[in-house]
Symmetry: C4
Subunit: 308 residues, 4 copies
C-alpha cells in the first residue's frame, strides 16, 4: 500500500473494472469477486485448509464412508472370500464386507473376518495401502489447517466519527484475540468513493487515508486507529449526506509479525457507509484484575457511546 495520496486507480490493481455500486471488499476482508474457468483441483488444498472445522470433519467422514461402500461392493462382487463369512445372503455379505473394509482401511484389522483367497487378499492389500496413504494425507491437511499463519485481529464492527483534539476524526479499533503476540503491526487504510470526472461521468476514485499513527512496536492492548478529519483528509468537507450518496468504502490492511510461528501475517477488513456511526466515542475496554494486571476485554471491542 505504498500508494501516494493522489495515486491513480490503476496502481491498486483494480483496473477499470470498478463498479460505482457495490463493495470491492466484503466486511470480512475477502474480495467481492468470482473466478470462473479455473480447475477445481487447483483450489482443493486451499478449500480444505480454510473451510470450517465441522465441514472439514464431515468432508473427511463422508469420503471415508464412500471409500468403504466402494470396497464393500467390490468384495461382494468378487465373491468375498472372507473367513467367518459363509452361507449368507448378498446383503449380509455386503454388510460383513463393509465392516471388513473399514477394518482394513483404518488398519485396525481385528482378524475375526480376514481375507482368504488371492483376489480378496489382493484387494485388501491395496485397500490398506490406500488407507495409510489417505490418513497420511489427512495428517498433512490437519497440520496445514493448524499451522496456517493468521492474524488473529478483530476489527470493531463500526467506524466512528468521534471528537478528536479540536476537531473530529474517523476511528476504528482493533484487538489481538490470540495469546500469540503480534509484533510491529502496521495499518493502512484505502478509501474508495464516487467522484465526477472531467466529462461529468461518475467514476470510482481512490485515496490513501493518512493516519495519526500507522505503526506501533507492540500490540498488547487494543489499538484505536485514527484518521483526523483535518486539512489533509479527502473527507474534510463531506456532509453526512455525502457519506451516504458517494458510497464511500474504507478498506483496511493490517500487517504484523505473528509470534508463535514468527511469520508475517495480514488481516483485512472493509467498512461501508452503513457502518459509520456519527458523533460517538469508543468506551474503554481495558481494566485491571485483582492483582493489578491490565485486562483487555476482547468482547467489548465495538462498545461505544453516542455523544449529545
Amino acid at each position: 500500500m505504498s500508494i501516494k495520496n493522489n495515486a491513480p486507480t490503476k496502481e491498486l490493481g483494480f483496473g477499470k473494472y470498478i463498479a460505482t455500486e457495490g463493495r470491492l471488499m466484503r466486511a470480512n476482508g475477502t474480495f467481492n469477486i468470482e473466478r470462473k474457468g479455473t480447475s477445481v483441483t487447483k483450489n482443493l488444498y486451499f478449500d480444505l485448509i480454510v473451510m470450517s472445522p465441522w465441514r472439514f470433519f464431515l468432508t473427511i467422514f463422508v469420503t471415508y464412508l464412500a471409500i468403504n461402500i466402494f470396497f464393500a461392493t467390490i468384495y461382494t462382487l468378487v465373491g468375498a472370500q472372507l473367513s467367518s463369512v459363509e452361507g449368507q445372503q448378498v446383503m449380509g455379505i455386503w454388510i460383513e464386507s463393509f465392516f471388513f473394509s473399514t477394518q482394513t482401511l483404518t488398519t485396525v484389522g481385528y482378524g475375526r473376518v480376514a481375507p482368504v483367497g488371492i483376489l480378496t487378499n489382493s484387494i485388501a492389500s491395496f485397500e490398506s495401502f490406500i488407507g495409510l496413504l489417505g490418513f497420511a494425507l489427512v495428517s498433512g491437511l490437519l497440520y496445514g489447517r493448524f499451522s496456517r499463519p493468521r492474524a488473529t485481529v478483530n476489527f470493531s464492527e463500526n467506524l466512528l466519527v468521534s471528537p478528536f483534539q479540536n476537531g473530529k476524526a474517523l476511528m476504528f479499533r482493533i484487538v489481538n484475540t490470540s495469546k500469540s503476540e503480534l509484533i510491529n503491526p502496521e495499518v493502512q487504510v484505502m478509501f474508495a468513493f464516487n467522484d465526477i470526472d472531467d466529462t461529468g461521468a461518475i467514476v470510482r476514485a481512490f485515496r490513501s487515508l493518512p493516519l495519526q499513527l500507522s505503526q506501533v512496536m507492540f500490540f498488547v492492548y487494543s489499538w484505536t486507529i485514527v484518521h483526523p478529519l483535518d486539512e489533509n483528509s479527502p473527507l474534510q468537507d463531506w456532509s453526512e449526506k455525502d457519506m451516504e450518496e458517494r458510497k464511500p468504502e474504507f478498506m483496511v490492511l493490517v500487517r504484523a509479525t505473528e509470534e508463535a510461528n514468527q511469520q508475517i501475517v495480514y488481516a483485512r477488513c472493509s467498512y461501508a457507509h452503513e457502518d459509520i456511526v456519527f458523533n460517538a466515542r469508543f468506551k474503554p475496554n481495558i481494566g485491571k484484575n485483582e492483582d493489578g494486571i491490565p485486562v483487555v476485554q476482547v468482547d467489548l471491542l465495538n462498545e461505544y457511546e453516542l455523544l449529545g
Copy 2:
C-alpha cells in the same frame, strides 16, 4: 532483478556461457539447462515434491509392491513359520507370505496368518517398523507436496503488439487461478537478443524492459502488463523482421505474497519471438454475474482479436 537498463550480461548470472541460439528459459519458466555429476539422492526430495500426482502415487505404489515382494521372498527362504500356512507348495507359501507381508507393512495385521517362530517373528517386527517409518515418510512427502508455496499465476500464451496511447506497446496478461489472494505482485521483464559487438561478432545482449506499471497492491482481477514501445524501449525501432532474426526472448519474473501460507512466491515465464502476435488486442475477460459481482474468466486469459 535490480539490473540497470544497460547492465552487463554478467550480473544476470548467465556468464559467458550464453548461446545465440536456443532459449535461456523454457516457456514454463524453468531454465534450459542440465546438471551432471551431482548425486541423485540430493535431488530425491525435490523430485518427489514436484512430480505429477499420478507419477507420485505410482512411485509410492511400486515401492510398496517391491518391499512386499522382497519380504515375501525372505519369509519363504527362512521357512515361513506362519500360522495357517502349512503343507503348501513353495509358490503357495510365497503368495501367503506376500499377503502376510502387506498385512505387516501396513500394520493391518488381521492375524489369520501370524508369525510363530523367533526368526519369522523377528523379521515381521522389523517389517512393521519399516512400514511405519515408510508411511511416516510418505506423510511428510504428501505434506511437502501440499504446502509447497506456489504462485498460481497463469500467463497468456502470447505476447501482443497492441495499440497503446499514441503508439504501440508489448502486452501480456496474467491472472491468479487460485482463491488464495496474491498480495503486492511485482513484475519484471528481462529481454535477451542477438547484438553485434565491437569486433563484429554476434553476441547475446540483455536489457531490462521498463513497464508502464510494475507493481500493484492487489491482484484480484487479471492484470495486463504493458511495455510501451517508446523512446525508452530498446525495441522501439525494431521491424517485424528484426523480431525474427535477432531471436528476442522475454523472461518474466512475478513476485508476490501468497495469502494462504503468507509466503513470498515467484512465478516465471518466457516468451520467444514465435509467441509474438502483431497488431492484436486482448479481449475483455471480466464480466458480471447475475448478482452484479465481477467474474474473472480465467480460461479467456489468452483471447485476443487481430486488428485491421
Copy 3:
C-alpha cells in the same frame, strides 16, 4: 523498535493504559497482561504448542483415556456384541469394552475381542476412524511443537553497572544455548521510568537506550551488550536512589536469523530495578579445551564479581 530517542509513549503500542506501578513485561519477556472475552478454541493450538512437554503428554493421555471411557460406556450400553465377551457382569463387560476400545482407537486390533453385530461394528468403525484422525492431529501438534522457531537466547539474570572506558555503563550478557547458529543478531533496549509531567503528575515515560553496538554478524560466543552512561544516556545523572524510586524497567528485544530453520526469530527479556547490580563486572565465560578450541560456558552466563 524504530523509536526515536524522545518518541512519545503512543508509538510503543501501550497507549495510555500504563501503570506507574508493576512491570509491562515479565522477566521472561512475556507481556504482563490478561485477555478476556476471547474464545478458548481460538487459542487451543497456541496453548498446545507452547505448553511444557510433560503437560502436553498428560493432556494427550487424559484425552486418550476419556475417549476410551466414553466408547467403553457406549459399547456396554448397546449390548457389547463382542466375540469372547459373554455371560459376564456389567463391570466385566465394561472393562472388556474399555480394552477393546483402546485396541480400536489405536488400530492395534488384536482381534481376540472383535465386534460382531451391525451396531457394535458401526461404532467400532467410527471409533477407529476417530482414532486415526486423532493421532493425525497429534502428529501435527508434535511437529508444530518441534519446528516452532525459537531464539534459544539466554539472558544474564542481572543488569550490571560496570566500569567502562572512563566512566560507567549498563551491561547484560546473552548467549546462544543451541547448536543452531543465530545469524545477524540485533539488540534493542527500551527503557520505561516514572517521570513528572507539566501538571506535576507522575507519568510513565519511555526512551530507547543507545547501545555501544547493536548488531553483530555472528553470535558464536557470548555477547555483552553495553549502554554507556554518558551524555547520550537518559540515565546519566541518576543516583542509586533514583534507580529504585523511579521504578525503571529495561525491555530487551533480540532479533536474529535462526539457522536450522533459517527463519527470523525474536527473544525478549525485561529487567526491573531489583535486577540491577551496582559496581560489578561479568567474569569471563569463555575458555579453551585441550585442543585449543574455544569453549563457551553457557552456565556461567550470569557470573559476576563485585568491585571494590
Copy 4:
C-alpha cells in the same frame, strides 16, 4: 555482513576471544567452537534433524528395540497374561512378550498372542498409545529433515590466485547441486589475518573483501567469485610468505532464495592459507549436450590448471 572495510573486530561478534592460531570457521562453514553447560534436550531436535540419514535410522531403530525390551520385561514381570503363551520357561515367555510388544507398539496386532487380564491389557493399551505417539514424533522428525531449507551450494576446495585483467585476483567457484533454483544469490567474503597493533603485539585483524560482483539474478550455471588484488585489496602487497605466516582465513557467506520452499537460505565456507593455489586457473566446467543445451558439470567444480 554490513561491515565497513575498516570495521573493528567487535562488530563481527567474535569479541576479544580470538586466537591468532587456529581457524574461526571449519572448511565446511561450521564455527570452530564448543558450547558447554547447556542441556542436551534443548539440542535434541536440532541433532536429530541434522545427523546423517543412516545415523538417524539407527537411532530410531535402537530406540525401538529398547522400548520393546523394556515392555517385554514388564509383561514378563507381571505374569504375561497372554493368549497362546502358557506353560513356557521364563525365557520363552520373555521372547513371546517381546514379539507381542513389537506387535503392540507398531499397532500391527496380529492377535495370535493377545492380552487377557486387566493388568496386561492396561499395559498393552498404554504401549499402543506410546507407539502411535512415538511414530507421530518420527513422522515430524522425518518431515523436519526433508523440509529443512538448505542452500545446496558446493564450493571449490581451493582458492586460486589467477591472472585477472592486467593483474591478479583471488578466485573461487560455486555451483548449485540441486534442481531447485537459487534466486538472487549474494556472496560476501570476510578476511581474517594476523596483524601487529600499536603495542607491537600480534592481534587478529578483520577486513571485508570487495568483490568484482557480489550478487547475480539467477544462479543456473556455476559462478566464479573474484576478489581483484588491486589497490582496494588489503592483500595487494602480500608475498606468498605473508600468505603463510599471517595465517589468513577467508570466510564466505552465500545468501539466496531457494525455489522449492521459496525461503531464504545461507551457505558458509572457509578457506585457510593451505587451500590457496598460486598462479592457477579454473578449467571450464560447462559444456553442451547433443541437443545444444548447456550442461553444468558439478563434479568438475574444483578442476584447475597450473599456469607456467
